[in-house]
Symmetry: C2
DNA sequence: TCGCTACTATTGAGTACGCAAATAACTCTA
DNA sequence: TAGAGTTATTTGCGTACTCAATAGTAGCGA
């Protein structure tokens, strides 16, 4: 008799695996299109978008790190690229000389506008298979995972 | 007057952004732990797991490609690594000499067993913030994204 | 004002991929 | 059975990250 089921798994693991697959499937196609059409990474786009909404179109690197969920070095390198393209430039901070702002240039804003329409359309196309209620449901569920990793600490602190 | 909202976005985009964040947050911690404790990538683990469940603990590379959602080249390189560790070995196919099987070795199975317990526990810990119904809901929603990218084609074909 | 710790950002080294092209083997058609 | 087209896998090359270590700055207490 052969023990077929060697490793048992749980509901959590099922959810995790589906998250991995959903992510891979989604970003592969969206990244490919965004990159082919506009020469931007998903994260490039995300950064440009955040900057466009920030006061004075500028942000500290640390804050970008939080928003797009990259490591500090990831952000520096990403911004290096955008800087080479002239889409972002560096700005200094008078009150704290450690920080260097990422500032969205006019070219950056133009590029963002150019890319946004088709990109958002493609995103919506991918998510068109959902009803509107499913979509908000999905968003809130996923937000629990992304919003505060330190939820465990909260239990203790509270 | 300054136009604050330069770029408008949709419900689909919100869902997409939360997917990105949820994925990044989740795999960062789980990957770090799995890698530190057992020297395995999430995808390494996933591959070992699939192999352990396959008949004769062997699979074609093409099929692994589908299951873990990597490109063919990604799979070859991932298996290269596992092979170097002695966790997987190559097997040939008599009926089709193009295919080379990935075969889980005894060492590979042992490694998987060793890693599985703590890894699954960590996954469950991450997903513990959800109720059981939320968890299944999340899983089914995400499955729509991962299960068939060719859903668009189906409309035409059907 | 000296040090101490905490924070911001960058750099060096390494890795896990992806894409496109190449190779080899299979299959089908005429 | 020759050829064309398809499929399975690998390889070259490039890239978008990560981690660990570093440097410069800030702010604090003694």
């Amino acid at each position: 008799m052969s023990r077929q089921v060697l490793i048992e798994q749980s509901v959590g693991v099922d959810a995790f695996v589906s998250l991995l697959r959903a992510h891979a499937a989604t970003i592969r196609q969206l990244n490919a299109k965004l990159s082919a059409d506009h020469g931007l990474t998903l994260n490039d786009f995300e950064v440009l978008l955040r900057l466009s909404r920030a006061p004075d179109r500028r942000m500290r690197r640390v804050d970008l790190t939080q928003e797009v969920f990259l490591t500090p070095s990831g952000i520096t390198r990403l911004l290096d690229g955008l800087e080479r393209l002239g889409l972002v430039e560096r700005g200094s901070c008078d009150s704290d000389r450690r920080v260097v702002y990422a500032v969205l240039t006019d070219a950056g804003l133009a590029k963002l506008r150019e890319a946004a329409t088709s990109h958002f359309a493609q995103v919506d196309e991918v998510f068109a298979r959902f009803e509107e209620t499913e979509l908000t449901e999905l968003t809130t569920l996923l937000s629990h995972l992304g919003d505060e990793v330190s939820a465990v600490d909260c239990d203790v602190a509270a």
